[in-house]
Symmetry: C2
Subunit: 200 residues, 2 copies
């Protein structure tokens, strides 16, 4: 039986590439940014705004200050955030129900927990992640090594905070995954070929 | 090139079986209890005493109470513990230098860090570990499910304490491993066949 695979990954670890190649090897669908596009369509918000919400906003959803009052604008923002999360959950469940696939990010491992997906966590040393990020022309133009390290730490901090907040689990803790793969020094293409063997 | 692989594992996770089968698949040596036997020979202590030291004693090696005095017996015990640790380190380095191999436990990942071994961590859900342990006649005779859970927790607590003390790393934290494998519901034989592909 073809599998349902979720990929949670450190920024710059090659998790996206590993997920994509795994899907190719297994001949199944691959979803990554498509989820954002689908949420934007369903909620009629812009892709950029949806991306901002799912990547860095969840922890601001509920106020912890007792007695805080809300403006009308606050209420609108909270409703939008809720809509995005609801749409994300619905869309991920629909995609998974449609056919075997690999879904990258978006807390899909948690959203699909009743379907028992194969949960992959992909990570690498900071050195390896910096090197990988700097091979992308777009990133290399904007950041030197020192700033790239800061950026990686910032993105991962947000991913972790979002994931932990949304799932009640701990991002990168082995207990919540079936396989945790360190890509430092590894060839992602070969890794994908080997791991595809787990589902054949 | 044939690899050097270290296996760190939760009690009852099947890590030992996975290590053994991986070695078989790769046609390389496999060391587990052999390390204890070799330490006992080199230090002229009994295997049972060596086992007790490497599995549960390291954390008592240094007193933290300032001004504590030692008896002659204390000094003898401390020297024995030091001898066992020195022998363990020497023997593991010798085995690894001799030929490609899989070494289970004994902080081998840390002892061999300069050789850059492939570091595997094997784990599973408590439910799965209890079930696995209770398939062993020897264990099933002594423990019911409730006591088996207690035993697993106790063994893992000691492994973790020993590992963290001896290595300064964190047992089961992804940062210190190349691959972390959850064996819950998995067929260990198939896992070993697949993972052997990482080294071919």
């Amino acid at each position: 039986m073809k599998p349902l695979i979720t990929v949670t990954r450190q920024f710059g670890s090659g998790g996206r590439e590993l997920g994509r190649r795994l899907a190719e090897n297994l001949g199944i669908e691959y979803y990554d940014k498509e989820v954002i596009t689908a949420i934007a369509e369903r909620t009629e918000m812009s892709e950029a705004y949806v991306k901002q919400i799912v990547e860095s906003r969840s922890h601001n959803l509920y106020p912890i200050t007792v007695g805080q009052t809300f403006s009308y604008a606050d209420h609108v923002a909270i409703n939008q955030i809720m809509s995005v999360y609801t749409a994300q959950s619905e869309i991920i469940k629909e995609l998974a129900a449609k056919s075997p696939c690999v879904i990258v990010g978006r807390c899909a491992d948690y959203i699909l927990r009743d379907e028992k997906p194969f949960r992959l966590f992909v990570y690498a040393s900071m050195e390896s992640r910096v090197a990988r990020c700097l091979t992308r022309a777009e990133e290399a133009e904007k950041y030197d090594e020192e700033h790239m390290i800061k950026r990686i730490k910032k993105v991962d901090k947000e991913r972790k905070r979002n994931y932990n907040y949304y799932t009640g689990q701990v991002w990168g803790d082995i207990r919540y995954y079936d396989l945790c793969v360190n890509t430092t020094g590894a060839n992602i293409k070969s890794l994908a070929e080997t791991f595809a063997g787990l589902f054949k």
